[in-house]
């Protein structure tokens, strides 16, 4: 069996770059599009403001421009014809557009401002950032929406978060690891990241919206009234499509078998949640032929016919999504696009700056059921003396508000200490504190080397040496 070449793994996802290609080709336009440098964007915007003033100096009989958008549109057209930097779009092309075109995207002030606000490298073109803002529910074609970038970005962000957590906290139990992963790169967090970036959401997608807005087909909330009736959406059966098949691939799902942590590691997603029916919002699920009326018959090699579901071709056929789903896809898509255009180092910097910089209190995420039992099993496994709870100090025993400070000792060593309103509460809290201090062990900073720092060709010259990381023996079995 061939040896796994870790140094080539991370950098082989991109095809080798052809240095003779001066310009980049994008999926949308049939001609080539140059990368708009930030200087050119400023010159364009300055040119637009200057032409606006020139319009003002015309005689009074000329029509006064009521809105800036009209001026920008006209000035943009003038600028296009004169500067001829961006080639005009072929009017005869028949591919329908459901989102602003690349040429409109290059002129959007909101998009350019977003690019600068995130300090994205100039290698990431504005057109790609515009594509990252298009959710599959707004445009179902995978060449025009952010789904491919989102899938890649989700894997990359999840990979960097997991390696950070497992290297910094090697003894973290699996359920807390799932919850910490969700806290850093889960859907709720990424939705708030989108809001903190100042990205607004459209009311409805279309070609005429600003390219700097997040475009999605918004799901009708369950409390709103269905048109023409007096009933709410959530009370009407069948209005909203039913959710995922429960069980997620487990063989005894129909008997409601317990979903333990180990089975979550195998069957569920990176947060320990059931993988829903859809890999991304708006994806077509394979259903049986009898249910799906719009199936397409496909002939197999041996003459048998099977039916494939028809993929949606326009936003009229797609499923609506929630704003938080689309926001998470957008942030993931930016990470994926950064990897494809700029490289692995830029993705790591993005993850460090926007995800790891967020504050998370891991010690508040533990919910013990029997901490005393778990602590005594841990001491038995590690060969410590059995834990004994001793009262360190107390006050107000006969009053309405007593305080007992209890410490759990293994021999002479204090494992954990806590205060409680009763002796029992103090003992239990002390055991929980001891377990928390065990689980949240972190090696010294000099010993922690994260795999992505040393793998790949980008990290070759950096001088970081790999050190084997602490791998824990396992969780406490009770």
């Amino acid at each position: 069996m061939k040896r796994v070449r870790l140094d080539r793994w991370a950098s082989q996802l991109q095809p080798p770059r052809n240095p003779r290609l001066q310009v980049q080709r994008c999926a949308l336009s049939h001609e080539t599009t140059t990368l708009p440098r930030r200087r050119d964007l400023h010159q364009q915007r300055q040119y637009i403001t200057q032409t606006q003033w020139q319009c003002q100096r015309q005689p009074v009989s000329s029509k006064r421009k009521a809105s800036t958008a009209a001026v920008l549109q006209e000035a943009g057209n003038e600028g296009e014809s004169e500067a001829s930097k961006l080639p005009s779009r072929n009017k005869k092309s028949t591919t329908p557009l459901y989102a602003p075109s690349h040429h409109t995207a290059a002129r959007s002030a909101k998009l350019a401002a977003l690019h600068a606000r995130l300090s994205l490298p100039p290698k990431l073109p504005l057109q790609t950032l515009a594509r990252c803002l298009v959710d599959p529910s707004a445009d179902p074609r995978s060449d025009y929406n952010n789904a491919p970038f989102a899938i890649l970005g989700q894997d990359l962000l999840g990979y960097h978060t997991t390696e950070h957590l497992t290297c910094h906290y090697p003894r973290l139990p699996m359920s807390v690891l799932f919850a910490a992963q969700y806290a850093f790169v889960g859907e709720a967090t990424l939705a708030s990241v989108r809001a903190e970036w100042g990205v607004e959401v459209v009311a409805a997608p279309g070609v005429e919206v600003d390219a700097g807005l997040l475009q999605l087909k918004r799901q009708v909330p369950g409390n709103s009234m269905v048109e023409g009736t007096g009933r709410r959406v959530k009370d009407m059966p069948g209005v909203r499509a039913l959710g995922a098949r429960l069980g997620g691939g487990r063989r005894n799902a129909e008997w409601n078998y317990r979903r333990g942590v180990s089975s979550r590691v195998v069957f569920d997603d990176e947060f320990g949640d059931l993988i829903g029916g859809e890999p991304y919002a708006g994806a077509q699920l394979s259903t049986s032929a009898s249910e799906d009326g719009g199936a397409v018959d496909v002939e197999g090699g041996d003459g048998t016919t099977s039916s494939l579901p028809t993929l949606p071709q326009s936003p009229d056929d797609t499923e609506a999504t929630t704003v938080s789903d689309a926001s998470a896809s957008f942030v993931r898509a930016v990470a994926g696009a950064l990897y494809l255009h700029v490289g692995a180092a830029a993705t790591r910097t993005f993850h460090r700056d926007h995800i790891l910089s967020r504050q998370l209190d891991l010690h508040t995420m533990f919910n013990f059921t029997h901490p005393t039992r778990d602590l005594s099993r841990l001491c038995a496994r590690e060969g410590f003396e059995p834990p004994v709870a001793r009262l360190i100090s107390e006050t107000g025993r006969l009053s309405r508000t007593p305080v007992f400070v209890v410490g759990v000792y293994s021999g002479d060593n204090l494992l954990g200490e806590a205060a409680g309103a009763s002796l029992n509460e103090g003992r239990v809290r002390a055991a929980a504190a001891a377990l928390r201090s065990w689980y949240l062990y972190s090696p010294s900073k000099g010993e922690i080397v994260v795999p992505s720092e040393v793998e790949g060709m980008a990290a070759a010259g950096k001088g970081k040496e790999w050190k084997p990381q602490v791998i824990d023996v396992g969780e406490i079995v009770t």
């Binding site: 930030r38 964007l41 400023h42 915007r45 300055q46 403001t49 606006q52 003033w53 003002q56 006064r64 809105s67 800036t68 002030a109 909101k110 350019a112 401002a113 977003l114 600068a116 606000r117 995130l118 300090s119 139990p173 359920s175 807390v176 799932f178 919850a179 969700y182 806290a183 850093f184 889960g186 709720a188 967090t189 708030s192 809001a195 903190e196 970036w197 100042g198 333990g260 942590v261 700056d353 926007h354 790891l356 910089s357 967020r358 504050q359 998370l360 209190d361 508040t364 995420m365 533990f366 919910n367 013990f368 059921t369 778990d374 100090s393 006050t395 205060a419 969780e475 406490i476 009770t478």
Partner: protein, 137 residues
Amino acid sequence: MPLQALRTVAKSQNGVGAFILQCKRIDFHYCDWAGSSRGMNAFLKHQLPAFAAQNPSIEISVSPRPGRHPVIKGQYINGREKAICVRNMEATEVTKKAELLKTASGEKLRRDRKPVKSFNESVRGVWSPFHGRQYKI
């Protein structure tokens, strides 16, 4: 299950990693006829291109508001808006107001009574009567 986890969302710390400027859009409204807008018009002609170049992360919009005093409106990431009327100001003063809007956070103006704001608890710990020197009667 021996141990369950409590799900939460990590809190953002703007500036610890990446810094996101809170002002995302500034609207400049001017008037050609009103005398109070002379400074604003001069600012738009001479100083605005440099201001826009220095702040690429702010979306700038210029539009006439005929018959009204000139005003600058800033929109912030927390959804709030701040407006400053720049009537009868010179171009340099208008620049100062634009800088003021740029550096603002969008929060309401309030006086902070505490010297330190932090997510983390104190490094040296809060005093407890049960640890340290015991007071014996």
